[in-house]
Symmetry: C2
Subunit: 412 residues, 2 copies
């Protein structure tokens, strides 16, 4: 039998009625002849409640106990989903992480899946079970303790099962109906993509299109798992949602797949830094140690042995970054005249694997922004992405103008 | 190190504050030098919520899934209790049933504990852990599925751990401060017992003194586990609560230890049954198969080959009993003129191991009731108990009169 993995997030299993609706979707796939592995999250709100209790009990909690407590929400949903399927006369049973087993590292509350031996579940499929309902987000450490994979970990569980069981596809049911060319709240013309390449999805996900956990996309790319994002709140056809897949499975695509933005960016400039070999390491090592997530880095052309170094980071890490830089200066590790933080910026990115073979995307992007009177503060590029920092007040305008200029409202 | 088992019921761990209070009690015992095994129930209300979800999802549920869902409440409390103890600098960790492992039968939702290998927990005690916090009420079947022990199962978990670890004592913390000579709500003179024999506790528990689950008392009796019932809401001394123990550990005791009552009894009489060998089996086998819990049984003296057979059962099983009897009559298995159900009765019992060596308890009981004008409908006796059925409206009066006549307000 071909195997299908279906994952339902917290909002899709928030009530018994929603669990029933999700179970009906599972029933449709079972009727097509699939053996189905269903991965469930906790009912929405439950995990937050449990995390709240742990934090209140012990602010610097033992992560092993955190995992033991927080994983319980998924166990409840898994049992209820199995019961719902049984009521529909579909042979189903629930599996907790340790029962499969989902073998993980011992990095509690941020564990990585190391192996999912398929034997136990396959034995039950062979005996006639049609659906294995697995509690997402959790596993078991080599020491036999319960682990969790970190927030959004159920997406990762789903992809890992799809890889371990060589599933035909991994369907992620969520509260949006797919991946869009940009945020529909900002741009009314935003269009749902039928397909998107793993690389593009990674760039979009890490830029704030919070549809799929980044780790799950990385894992899907590595094991070539076809990943589909679709809504659990709409009637579905086989072509619903967005398929995240290998580049080769995308026949035609626009040069630019989408426009992403990030609002909470700050631009920091170290003015007049002594330019010498090793200066970048001297700046960014202390930032890293201070837990600052540096994103874009730009070094200006050096002039008489001094340069300006600009980087971006999340706005809530500005104070931490300033402290780290002042301390490095005090220690004499670096030398600069001034540190200027600009917290009123936003990052805009255009993403598309088509850029690899098409030139002129960057030039067009700059032209469009210029035509709208938007000044570009920082530019960085990668093979499939061009990002710029602009004044935050121009963010929506920039997204709309780029979406229109690249004609993203039209399918390829 | 001597080992102590401490069990906290649902009301004793209902909130984070109450968990902290319970943890402080544990800390007192750790300070005395004990290795402590703490058994926790789910926060009160949680199990009912989970059971409600299961029933709504699937009225004829798969008990294996019921167990998977319903056991999760205890896991949450176990983790939170371990974290609370750690915050008090007491080395502690949580254990779920399968981690210990608590090995049970496969009788899901009513499993029996078969073995608790102490090695895993003892290894951690040897490494310096002072408290093992174990999720009560749950275990793991030979098939590796999660089982539960039935309602009130955490008491049984506690006693089984006390037996497996040869604990000095098993303290059951609950919302009452001990076992009373009778219900204080009915009789203001009711007195807390310092000690009570296992046999007496069994008779009182099964009669409705809902302090300890009957199975846990049976288990404690078999393994000679000293069981103490005490309140988690009061400051405690070593002499607090009631010690349930072997008869030999009770120096002096009243002839009668307590007066119990049960309100929800019905008296059923099969009028004019043909009296022949095997008639009792012909009556009570179908009742048993119909799930009727028959308690008292009285057969009147036979007259011209016919007799009246009277039995008692819970009031909510009367309809089921009537159906079973009519069906047996239709099949020709039994023959009776009439079936009379009296649902306005109550059972009153006096219990005490002293009855074994003292005569006259029954006679005194009948005298007391007679003096109050209370008519006795049915009498049954055992070695340490005399029970009568009376009109329900006399229940309180009967309890008060017997309590006073046997001077239960005075210690031995």
């Amino acid at each position: 039998m071909p195997t299908l993995v279906m994952k339902f997030g917290g909002t899709s299993v928030a009530t018994l009625d929603r669990i029933r609706r999700a179970a009906k979707r599972v029933g449709v796939e079972v009727a097509k002849g699939y053996d189905v592995i269903v991965i469930v999250s906790a009912m929405s709100g439950k995990t937050n409640e449990l995390v709240g209790w742990v934090n209140e009990t012990s602010p610097l909690f033992d992560a092993r106990e955190y995992d033991a407590v927080v994983s319980s929400g998924e166990n409840v949903t898994a049992g209820l989903m199995a019961l719902t399927l049984q009521e529909m006369d579909i042979p189903a049973r629930s599996w907790q992480g340790w029962q499969v087993p989902v073998m993980t590292t011992s990095a509690h509350s941020a564990a990585r899946i190391e192996d999912i031996p398929p034997e136990n579940i396959n034995e039950k499929f062979a005996e006639g079970m049609k659906v294995a309902v697995v509690a997402g987000f959790q596993g078991v450490s080599p020491e036999g303790r319960i682990t969790t994979l970190g927030r959004g970990g159920s997406d990762t569980t789903a992809v890992a099962f799809a890889a371990a069981f060589d599933a035909e596809r991994c369907d992620i049911y969520t509260d949006v109906d797919g991946v869009y060319t940009t945020d529909p709240r900002i741009c009314a013309d935003a269009r749902k993509l039928d397909r998107i390449a793993f690389e593009e999805m990674l760039e979009l996900a890490s830029l704030g299109a919070k549809v799929l956990q980044t780790r799950s996309v990385e894992l899907a790319m590595r094991y070539k798992v076809k990943l589909r994002v679709l809504s659990s709140f709409e009637e579905q056809s086989d072509e619903a949602g967005t398929l995240v897949c290998d580049e080769e499975d995308i026949m035609e695509s626009n040069v630019v797949a989408g426009v992403a933005y990030s609002r909470d960016e700050a631009k920091m400039t170290l003015v007049s830094v002594a330019d010498r070999p090793g200066i970048a390491a001297a700046i960014f090592s202390p930032l890293s140690e201070a837990g600052v997530n540096v994103d874009m880095i730009v070094q200006n052309i050096s002039d008489d042995g001094r340069t300006d170094m600009t980087f971006s980071c999340p706005t809530d890490q500005v104070a931490r970054a300033e402290k780290a830089m002042e301390e490095a200066k005090t220690r004499g590790d670096i030398n600069f005249h001034d540190l200027v933080a600009d917290q009123a910026v936003a990052k805009i990115s255009v993403v598309g694997i088509g850029m690899r073979s098409h030139t002129g995307v960057a030039a067009k992007m700059f032209r469009v922004l210029s035509a709208e009177g938007i000044n570009i503060k920082v530019i960085t590029t990668s093979e499939i992405k061009i990002s710029v920092l602009v004044e935050r007040k121009y963010m929506e305008l920039a997204v709309q103008a780029l979406h229109e200029a690249f004609e993203l409202e039209k399918a390829a």
